[in-house]
């Protein structure tokens, strides 16, 4: 074939280009080719010229060789360019279209960066993808394969976004691409693909999902199992899968069984929760929230408690674990099982042999569960518990008592525990008070972040105790109005404070809240005595405090602001001061919050 000869010749010229034309004279391999080229030359004038060019190259001296090689190669190239094959032999089949109706009208400037973001690595990609999603330009046929491929991206926020936002927007149109890309032995991305395919195709792919659940890679399997949880008729398969070797797979199967909620599924979960699988069974059981299952577990817990009493060593530890599992399973569903759980917990927490140091964690979670039951008798029991123990249960007892009794009764019952604040029970109580008070103060919408506890819910004597015990945080939370003992205590605490000390800021916010007339002066002093270098940013506390300042202080504030080292902070402070100066006088009388709102409005 003449083309083959030309090809060989092309090979040889390429070799000479690499080696250098200086080596061409009398080149052996080229010489060998010459006769066949000459023979070609007899058939057409072009090949004649070609063979001539080869000859000339073979006889050229060093100087001329380059020109000759270039000439030969140019000629050869021109011939070869006309020889390019375009036909392929064999059977071909028409490509089947899948009828996706997507448009291809996103412009280059929108589409290109989007596809780049989906297919490359580097920063700022998610932002680009979000932008394309928002302006709608992502909905383009050409982006579809890249969008589906991005399910494999290693930066998990991208596949998350793609899975929850982009592909659902493509809807059915994404199906052919997802199907094509899906690899049952693949990774997490393929699990996502399976979920998305099911989202679009529903029960029609159930056979395929079963196959994935049986023979897929673990990630794909987990996705398939999640899907199977929607199909009661697949329960036997799930049962099987719940015995798999891999923990993650079993976990997924437990979740799906919990979703099915049949008695057989519950039986399996019961087995899991009472066997070695108890760790991973807890969450599925919580999710399933089946009363029948809970009942059985409580029964199991009671039995474990009985065993505990007569066991020793390892077996005993095992029983503790079993009890702990039962309690964890019930967490979140306490009210549902209140009666039964209450009697179980009562038994548990009154069993003397159980109330030892080794089981302290379990005791605590049991006490917490007791409160969760929201049952008067459970609360009553919790209060009793706090009496007869050295503090372990006092926080739960206190919480229960707050529900059951009047503020005064609670105070009378618990304040004695405080003593000098050093005992374990006292510390527990203080932290319980703080927990409850912080919860309540968060509900104070008017003072966002520096509110007080609702006055009517607490006995007025508490604050005195806190001042005595120097519990500044609690004093701040309980301060309702500017009484001398409170302001005196808080002002004293401020003496040693520094600018960025959160405690100090909290105290100042409290003083402003209770409208202590010296508060502006105290804040001004704090600002003036502090090092201006230490203000790296303007915290929300400072923003609030500055906004509370009366107009009269603007001059001193300005003097302070001018000294602030960091420009951005300085500008922020100055902006607030500007707003303060413009503040209409009638606002002075109102609460700080409306002033702040007014200033924020002014500055935006």
């Amino acid at each position: 074939m003449s083309v083959d000869i030309l090809f060989n010749l092309q090979e040889e010229t390429r070799r000479l280009f690499i080696a250098g034309s200086a080596m061409a004279a009398g080149d052996l391999r080229m010489t060998k080719l010459l006769p066949s080229i000459q023979k070609l030359g007899e058939s057409s004038p072009v090949f004649k010229r070609l063979s001539g060019a080869v000859e000339e190259l073979l006889h050229a001296d060093r100087e001329e060789s380059a020109v000759k090689l270039l000439e030969l190669s140019t000629l050869l190239g021109a011939i070869l360019y006309t020889q390019g094959k375009t036909e392929t032999a064999g059977e071909s089949i028409p490509i089947q279209g899948s009828g996706v109706e997507l448009r291809t009208e996103s412009t280059y400037r929108k589409l290109h960066p989007f596809i780049e973001a989906l297919t490359t690595k580097g920063q700022g990609r998610l932002e680009q993808i979000r932008a394309s999603f928002e302006d709608g330009s992502f909905l383009d046929l050409r982006a579809l394969p890249a969008v589906c491929s991005a399910l494999d991206d290693s930066y998990s926020e991208i596949p998350d976004f793609v899975q929850t936002k982009l592909i659902p927007a493509f809807g059915r149109d994404a199906v052919p691409v997802l199907q094509k890309q899906l690899n049952l032995q693949g990774g997490k991305g393929d699990g996502r693909r399976l979920l998305l395919l099911h989202q679009q195709l529903g029960s029609s792919i159930i056979e395929f999902v079963k196959k994935a659940a049986n023979s897929g890679s673990p990630e794909v399997k987990i996705a398939a199992i999640t899907i199977l949880g929607e199909y009661p008729e697949q329960e036997s398969l799930l049962q099987e899968l719940s015995l798999e070797k891999r923990k993650e797979v079993r976990l997924a199967a437990f979740f799906s069984l919990a979703k099915l909620g049949t008695s057989a599924a519950m039986q399996r979960l019961y087995e899991a929760a009472t066997s070695k699988d108890r760790e991973i069974a807890v969450e599925p059981v919580q999710k399933g929230a089946s009363s029948a299952l809970f009942s059985r577990l409580i029964q199991f817990g009671s039995e474990a408690l009985e065993r505990y009493s007569v066991q020793e060593g390892k077996a005993r530890t095992e029983s503790v674990e079993q009890i702990a599992t039962v309690i964890r399973c019930l967490e979140g569903s306490g009210r549902q099982m209140a009666e039964e759980a209450c009697s179980f917990l009562r038994k548990l927490l009154t069993t003397k042999s159980f109330l030892v140091q080794e089981t302290e964690n379990v005791q605590e979670s049991a006490a917490a569960l007791l409160l969760e039951l929201d049952l008067p008798e459970a609360d009553q029991f919790a209060v009793e518990l706090s009496d007869n123990n050295k503090g372990t249960f006092i926080r739960y007892g206190f919480r229960a008592a707050s529900k059951l009794m009047s503020p005064e009764e609670v105070y009378i019952r618990f304040s004695d525990v405080l003593g000098n604040g050093k005992s374990r029970a006292a510390k527990q109580l203080l932290s319980a008070v703080l927990e409850l008070a912080a919860e309540q103060s968060r509900a104070d919408g008017e003072h966002d972040g520096y509110g007080a506890v609702p006055e009517e819910l607490w006995d007025t004597r508490w604050i005195g105790q806190f001042i005595r015990l120097e519990q500044t945080e609690l004093v701040c939370l309980f301060a309702q109005r500017a009484k001398r003992e409170i302001t005196g205590y808080l002002s004293a605490k401020l003496q040693a404070a520094r600018l960025n000390d959160w405690n100090a800021l909290e105290i100042l916010l409290t003083l402003f809240r209770i409208r202590y007339k010296n508060a502006p002066e105290l804040y001004m002093e704090l600002l003036e005595k502090s090092s201006v270098r230490s203000m790296y940013y303007l915290s929300w506390q400072h923003t609030h405090l500055l906004a509370f300042m009366p107009k009269a202080y603007t001059e001193r504030l300005r003097a302070f602001a001018e000294k602030v080292t960091y420009e951005s902070v300085r500008n922020q402070i100055l902006a607030i001061i500007d707003a303060l100066e413009e503040k209409p006088d009638e606002l002075n009388e109102e609460s700080g919050r409306s002033i702040l709102k007014w200033i924020k409005n002014k500055m935006s």
């Binding site: 250098g20 094959k85 490509i95 448009r103």
Partner: protein
């Protein structure tokens, strides 16, 4: 004033960044003042910037279809993000209050009007002598040609030297020498040839795998050799006879580095009257050797069926301040279409144009214009690419009957059963064959396809990348 849509503002923006920044200004409420005049021809407002004073920006719709942007910001980007933001504010339905036109803008309008009148007066004067034919300073031209020839001589010497010593011997030192020589060529008025040498240096960059680049390097040497040979012959002839015309039949002048001016093209009669064009594909690529971005559009001439190319070149240094071209969907009608010398896909430009939405009749017309016989097209392509100086990737519009698949290969088949192999060229950055199976059945049969050709010397086959499919109802842009 027409209603302002977000898409319209997008199309005015010089680049994607400006779109984003403009939109963000609206999002961040950076416009404390938004005004419009009574007659609605002027939008103006103030936009907060980093400085103390806000920027005063305005968009003037006094002349229909040609808004004038004014802004007091110092940005070199035009239109700047503030004026774009103003338009986005409008498009997104922000409230504009009515206000009187500011004095400074009224003044500017007056001035512009006066300018227009002057222009009209000048145009009205029936005075041909006012437009003399451009005179060429012959002695200067001869001098310039001599310098150009000198440059080509240097280049030729380098090519011969490289060929003689072999590509295998090219090392870091050689490349350094070549780069220096390349800088020298900068003084010889042949920027095209200079870029050709730089392309060779880029191909031979040491970090690349040598075996894979030898073929490309060899091609480049052949192209440079052909360029010096043809360029020398052409320039010598022009030096001998400075009155002889410029070469307007091939792309030689452009390859040497001549930047055609519209006036020159007009002088040489390379103007087509009343042309209608529709873009079929668009792509932007980076030309490292020339140091520029090339926004490239492939268009069909709706009268003749020729595939034309627009190339908007943005040198790296100026890229930030230049407008980026983008996909264009409308039919362009222009009274004067300037056509650059070239082979199959001649480059075109226009100054003034009107636009309209394309419709089914356009698509039907395009399908009729597609080449029906693959062998004819292939012959045409081969005839062009065999020239070492030719564009090796010509783009053609072909009519196909079906799209079929061998194991891995995808082909187009024409009405008489002939094949054209499809391939996804890496340089184009996207796979288009993978999209085919997503289309509708009827879109894969008896349609027209815009394809880019490439010959592979290594295994001697000619294949094509599918860029777009034109059906009776739409253009499916597969590439961009």
């Amino acid at each position: 004033m027409a209603t302002i849509t977000e898409a319209y503002v997008d199309s005015l923006a010089p680049n994607a960044g400006a779109i984003k920044n403009g939109r963000e200004l609206v999002k961040k409420n950076s416009f404390p003042l938004l005004h419009e005049t009574d007659d609605g021809t002027l939008l103006f407002g103030e936009c907060k910037g980093s400085g103390k004073d806000p920027y005063r920006c305005s968009v003037d719709f006094a002349t229909e279809g040609n808004p004038v942007f004014r802004c007091s910001c110092p940005s070199r980007q035009f239109p700047c993000k503030h004026t774009l933001g103003l338009l986005y504010a409008r498009a997104l339905g922000k409230a504009f209050t009515t206000a009187a036109i500011p004095q400074e803008i009224a003044d500017k309008r007056d001035k512009a009007e006066k300018r227009e009148e002057k222009k009209k007066d000048a145009a009205a004067e029936p005075d041909d002598s006012a437009k003399p034919k451009r005179k060429v300073n012959k002695s200067a031209l001869v001098k310039k040609i001599a310098v150009q020839l000198d440059g080509l001589g240097i280049l030729e010497k380098l090519v011969l030297q490289l060929t003689q010593s072999g590509l295998g011997s090219v090392d870091k030192k050689t490349l350094q020498m070549l780069e220096e020589q390349d800088k020298q060529l900068g003084n010889h008025y042949i920027p095209g040839a200079q870029a050709g040498l730089r392309a060779f240096v880029i191909i031979m960059q040491p970090e690349k795998d040598r075996e894979t680049v030898y073929s490309a390097a060899m091609e480049q040497l052949l192209a440079l050799k052909a360029l010096t040979k043809k360029g020398k012959a052409y320039l010598e002839q022009r030096a001998a006879d400075p009155d002889s015309p410029m070469d307007i039949d091939t792309n030689l002048e452009e390859l040497l580095g001549h930047a055609w001016q519209l006036a020159e093209l007009r002088e040489h009669g390379r103007v087509q009257k009343d042309a209608k064009l529709l873009q079929l594909a668009f792509m932007s690529y980076t030309d490292e050797a020339r140091g520029e971005f090339a926004d490239t559009g492939w268009w069909i001439d709706l009268n003749s069926g020729h595939i034309r190319v627009t190339r908007h070149l943005r040198p790296f240094r100026a890229a930030r301040a230049m407008r980026e071209e983008d996909t264009f969907q409308a039919v362009v009608k222009t009274e004067e279409l300037f056509i650059y010398p070239g082979d199959l896909n001649q480059r075109v430009r226009w100054e003034n144009a009107t636009f309209r939405e394309p419709g089914a009749t356009d698509y039907a017309a395009i399908k009729l214009l597609a080449a029906a016989s693959f062998p004819d097209v292939i012959k045409q392509v081969k005839n062009v690419i065999k020239n070492p100086l030719a564009d090796k990737n010509p783009v053609m519009l072909v009519a196909f009957q079906s799209i079929e698949q061998f194991d891995e290969k995808v082909i187009l088949r024409d009405a008489s059963g002939k094949q054209l192999q499809l391939e996804d060229f890496e340089e184009n950055g996207r796979q288009t064959t993978t999209l085919l199976s997503l289309l509708r059945e009827e879109e894969l049969k008896n349609q027209a396809a815009l394809v880019m050709f490439r010959h592979h010397l290594d295994d001697n086959h000619l294949s094509a990348q599918l860029m777009s499919i034109v059906t009776g109802s739409r253009i499916i842009r597969l590439l961009y």
